[in-house]
């Protein structure tokens, strides 16, 4: 039964073989390539996290040595931030879905797209090498002069890895910005764009403007460490705090690289599963841009006790509160979208519910940290750790999973088990809260972060946290299991299993190599569910 049967050609089966994947210029395949690498990095980061949590079940340092512990949380942070969360949504889901959503055949620069995957992998390999050779122990923030002079771990190798991976992010951002400007299908005006595309556009802005600064900062660090050039060296009159300014000039906006795309996913999924247009479409769209731009004005809120001028701290505190407003606008609009919807409880929206609750707590605790008077006490305690895990794990990773579940049928043509997905979402939600809520209390009690041994009175809360992490780990593993299972045993999904609007659902699942047989012509907004009734009937 080989040649005579008409085979449905799609991007997965159009060609076989490793080479056809490694040399592909198809954005959809590149998305899958990213998914594979990011999954590996997530597993790795998760293993490091597990080791950290095991160590912290007792107040003594009895599981690993101090140096190992330091390497563990550093590598956990580096893997999760630079190799999971920054590429996760834009490079996997964005790559896969965005050209489809705007009705393009591909991104503007397919070769550069592939190149950026290679760059990413090379960066990852460097970082892996550093990890294998014994790790790096500076914290993911690489503060000088510890990183430039005192650390005896593989700072250079890791730095080079992160440096290289940064270019991947830049190239992705560049590619997406041009694609969104120049590749939209006829009729796809800016205000008909799905909100995910708006979010990616805002993200691209941050990637383009911010990432070069971290690149040069790491380069300066490398030159200082490797060649002995003094740039931040206090012995020459240099200022270690300048490194922090430059680092956070990128790394604060980078947290919006991590959260904006998941926010875009949330808008898509919420609209689809409540069968409604997103409430206040243009406000949600512009709040993405506002977050991207204002996000550049608040970096020194990480430096409130690092020796900056209190007047400057005041400005940055004010701006940090200001940047919370567009997030508030988004949150309220999502809530309002549910109002009088027809909410279809399927796996993707369950992850969205999780996102809403956890992002909310993460974001609101960000307000505590943005408050000068509180941050003096809270800085570098577990309160901060809890804050960013609530946003990054509870928010961004949940959002990523929402998107992964949402587009999985499109990517693979297969349906996963809805009941398993429901169970996983529940496990992750419960496990997550158990892991990280106690850390808020620990933080206010004054337990500093990056502590290998701690004072015995903190133990109970730490044990709770470790217990939660185990549940969390089970939850994530479950996701991996049923998604992989669906590849072999899943039902065929059909072109539009969720009955969603949006161009990506108008083509086959999995899509044909050139996305659309005919270039689509768009004549309505992104979420016209109310019109659909009339049409479908």
């Amino acid at each position: 039964m080989t040649t005579t049967v008409l085979r449905r050609v799609n991007y997965l089966n159009v060609k076989y073989g490793v080479a056809s994947w490694l040399l592909t210029k198809d954005h959809k395949r590149i998305g899958i390539l990213y998914l594979i690498v990011v999954a590996i990095a997530f597993l790795l980061g998760g293993i490091f996290a597990a080791a950290v949590r095991i160590e912290l079940t007792t107040p003594q340092g009895d599981f690993v040595s101090a140096d190992t512990y330091n390497a563990l949380f550093t590598m956990h942070g580096v893997a999760m931030v630079f190799f999971v969360l920054i590429p996760a949504v834009p490079a996997i889901l964005g790559n896969f879905a965005m050209p489809l959503m705007i009705g393009a055949k591909d991104v503007a620069f397919p070769k550069i797209n592939l190149l950026s995957w290679y760059v990413f992998v090379i960066g990852f390999v460097f970082t892996l090498a550093a990890m294998v050779l014994g790790g790096v122990d500076t914290g993911w923030t690489f503060y000088t002069p510890y990183s430039s002079v005192y650390s005896s771990s593989h700072v250079l190798l890791t730095g080079i890895g992160v440096f290289i991976a940064g270019f991947s992010s830049i190239l992705t951002g560049l590619n997406f910005a041009v694609t969104i400007h120049r590749m939209r299908a006829p009729g796809m005006t800016w205000f008909r764009l799905p909100l995910f595309v708006w979010a990616l556009y805002a993200t691209a802005l941050v990637q383009i403007l911010g990432t070069p600064v971290i690149a040069i900062t790491i380069l300066m660090l490398a030159v200082e460490r490797g060649l002995g050039f003094g740039i931040f060296d206090p012995r020459l009159g240099g200022d270690p705090v300048l490194f922090q300014h430059l680092f956070w000039f990128y790394s604060h906006p980078a947290v919006y690289i991590m959260i904006l795309p998941p926010m875009g996913v949330i808008s898509e999924v919420i609209a689809c599963f409540s069968r409604k247009s997103v409430f206040g479409y243009s406000f949600v769209a512009f709040s993405s841009l506002a977050i991207a731009v204002f996000g550049f004005l608040v970096w020194a809120h990480h430096l409130f006790v690092a020796g900056i001028s209190p007047y400057s701290a005041m400005i940055f505190s004010f701006l940090s509160f200001a940047v919370a407003i567009p997030s508030a606008v988004k949150t309220f609009n999502w809530t309002a979208t549910l109002y009088r919807g027809a909410i279809w409880w399927r796996a993707p929206i369950l992850w969205v519910f999780g996102f809403l609750g956890l992002f909310l707590i993460g974001g609101l605790t960000g307000l505590f940290l943005a408050s000068l008077g509180l941050d003096v006490h809270l800085h570098d305690t577990y309160f901060v750790v809890a804050h960013f895990h609530y946003i990054m794990v509870g928010g961004a990773i949940m959002g990523f999973f929402a998107g992964l579940h949402y587009w999985w049928p499109k990517m693979t043509g297969k349906m996963f088990s809805n009941s398993m997905a429901t169970l996983a979402a529940l496990l992750v939600f419960v496990g997550f809260n158990l892991t990280f809520f106690p850390q808020f209390i620990l933080g206010y009690l004054g337990m500093p972060r990056r502590y290998h041994v701690y004072s015995p009175e903190f133990q109970v809360l730490n044990v709770l946290s470790s217990a939660g992490a185990s549940i969390l780990g089970v939850g994530y593993t479950l996701v991996a299991c049923y998604l992989l299972h669906s590849l072999w045993k899943g039902e065929a999904a059909g072109a539009n299993p969720w009955r969603a609007t949006g161009l990506e659902w108008k083509t086959e699942s999995p899509p044909i190599p050139e996305n659309f047989a005919e270039t689509p012509i768009v004549n309505e907004g992104a979420y016209e569910y109310s019109k659909r009734e009339v049409k479908v009937a």
């Binding site: 300014h245 000039f249 004005l297 430096l303 690092a306 900056i308 001028s309 007047y311 400005i315």
Partner: protein, 129 residues
């Protein structure tokens, strides 16, 4: 494809202006303008860069989007410089009643000195013994 084609004379004229400006900035470097040294040098450099961008890089004839992008770059550069310096330049104000500043703050490290006279006869490139 129709890009704007400038007459050759435009290019030569721009080149000429750039040369004149280079000469100006070198000359200015040998005149002590006090606190104006830096602004003058920077001003001339900005002028030169603007000429290159507008004419050699055809920004003058490019789309609004391109102009916006070009402006964005410099806008964010100014944010980077401005907000960072907002810290460094206001550190000196931090002096608390006690003389030195309080939690998380230091007295500035750097001198605010703008004009300074060095002892005359500074040796050029001190050779290694």
């Amino acid at each position: 494809m129709s890009g704007h084609i400038s007459p050759k004379t435009t290019y030569y004229a721009i080149f000429g202006s750039l040369m004149v400006l280079t000469a100006t900035t070198v000359t200015a470097a040998f005149i002590n303008l006090g606190s104006l040294n830096f602004p003058v040098a920077l001003g001339i450099a900005i002028l030169k860069a603007t000429l290159v961008i507008l004419f050699f890089m055809h920004l003058k004839y490019s789309s609004r989007l391109t102009k916006l992008i070009c402006g964005t770059a410099f806008f964010f550069l100014v944010i980077l410089f401005g907000l960072t310096l907002s810290d460094y330049l206001s550190r000196g104000w931090a002096a608390a009643p006690g003389g030195t500043a309080g939690a998380g703050t230091q007295v500035t490290v750097g001198p605010p000195a703008e004009t300074a006279e060095e002892p005359a006869g500074e040796p050029q490139a001190a050779p290694e013994p």
